[in-house]
């Protein structure tokens, strides 16, 4: 938990450093990977997630950036990503009435995290365990750990109480631990 808080503080410090900077590339480099990971929780494919991030980021940069000031922009960016994801899902469901579409959740060979310099097998195991979690637990874990949102903020995003969010978070971690220990005992 301390580490997460440290990440948030680092994020805010960086924001203060670049808040006056005019270049969107710095923002995108900093937040793009996390936004893509969050978007992937709400979309069917990687390309959909990229479309959503593009739309959300452009909207944020044009219209909402000044609202954040020196604060942390991630909650607003993630809200924007979620809204774009919902819009896309609505459009897709309309299209699905006309064409048969598979319910794929992850593309073949898709990697959510950077490879580790050493012990990349562990990264693969963690990623695999994360992907096997129920979607509602995985979503909370992603928003908490990589989206750096608080339980209250996640609750606002998902329309849940913070207690429910915290429970899902704990169940998610416990589920991952069980998955990893099972994999260890078999491997």
């Amino acid at each position: 938990m301390t580490l997460l808080r440290a990440n948030t503080i680092r994020s805010k410090t960086l924001m203060e450093e670049i808040s006056d900077h005019d270049s969107w590339q710095i923002w995108f480099q900093r937040y793009g990977p996390r936004l893509l990971l969050c978007a992937r929780q709400w979309t069917r494919s990687k390309s959909d997630a990229e479309d959503v991030v593009q739309e959300a980021f452009v909207r944020f940069w044009r219209n909402q950036r000044s609202l954040v000031g020196r604060g942390d922009p991630l909650p607003l960016l993630i809200t924007s990503v979620r809204r774009s994801s919902i819009d896309l899902a609505r459009r897709n469901s309309r299209r699905a009435n006309r064409e048969e579409r598979s319910q794929d959740t992850s593309s073949e060979g898709e990697r959510f995290f950077e490879q580790l310099a050493k012990d990349d097998d562990r990264r693969v195991a963690l990623e695999s365990a994360l992907n096997r979690l129920p979607a509602e637990q995985r979503e909370v874990l992603v928003l908490k750990i990589w989206g750096e949102l608080t339980f209250d903020e996640i609750g606002s995003q998902l329309g849940l109480s913070s207690n429910t969010v915290a429970s899902r978070y704990r169940y998610g971690l416990a589920g991952m631990r069980k998955e990893l220990s099972t994999a260890n005992s078999h491997g």
Binding site: L76, S156, L158, L173
Partner: protein, 173 residues
């Protein structure tokens, strides 16, 4: 939370999400550049158009009674049901949604409001003027209201920052 879970949490926090591919960055760059270019092309005629629109809006607002205007409907988003007949309710994702007043003569109608809590802090104990001990908390919100014209399908939204400070009396019973 037990130590095992904390260790796992830290291990996960050390994983870095995969970098965004340069193709996506290029797409974002194109979209932002397009906007700049099209703004420059559009700007020469937008002023008269905006002036005409504003003039029309002023005429329309004069015609509508204040309690039936969109502004009273916005108030209902923040304050719940009001006398104009607009009702706020919790929609999908816990966001309050608004059923606009049926009598509203405006073309654009508020359809959804999002209250995003951006920051929350407990500022500790304070003593009120009457000597009562209280706790002061501060919250920063971003309120976004979406409007839609059912006729044309056009939509717009605005986002407004809001700070909320609460002083809660402490009861030791």
């Amino acid at each position: 939370m037990d130590e095992d879970l904390k260790d796992l949490e830290e291990e996960l926090a050390n994983l870095r999400p995969a970098v965004v591919q340069s193709e996506l960055r290029a797409r974002v760059a194109r979209r932002l550049d397009q906007r700049l270019a099209s703004n420059l092309l559009r700007v020469w005629w937008t002023f008269p158009a905006a002036a005409a629109l504003a003039f029309g809006l002023v005429l329309e607002l004069r015609r509508i009674e204040p309690q039936k205007s969109g502004f009273s409907t916005i108030a209902s988003v923040q304050g719940g049901a009001d006398s104009s007949g607009a009702v706020s309710r919790m929609g999908n994702g816990g966001r309050p949604q608004v059923e606009p007043a049926a009598e509203s003569a405006n073309e654009f109608k508020p359809i959804e409001a999002i209250d995003l809590l951006c920051a929350k802090s407990d500022e500790g104990a304070v003593t009120l003027e009457d000597g009562t001990l209280a706790r002061r908390t501060s919250e920063s919100h971003l309120d976004t209201i979406f409007w839609r014209d059912p006729g044309s399908g056009a939509s717009l939204y605005w986002t407004v920052p809001r700070d909320e400070i609460r002083v809660i009396p402490v009861n030791f019973q």
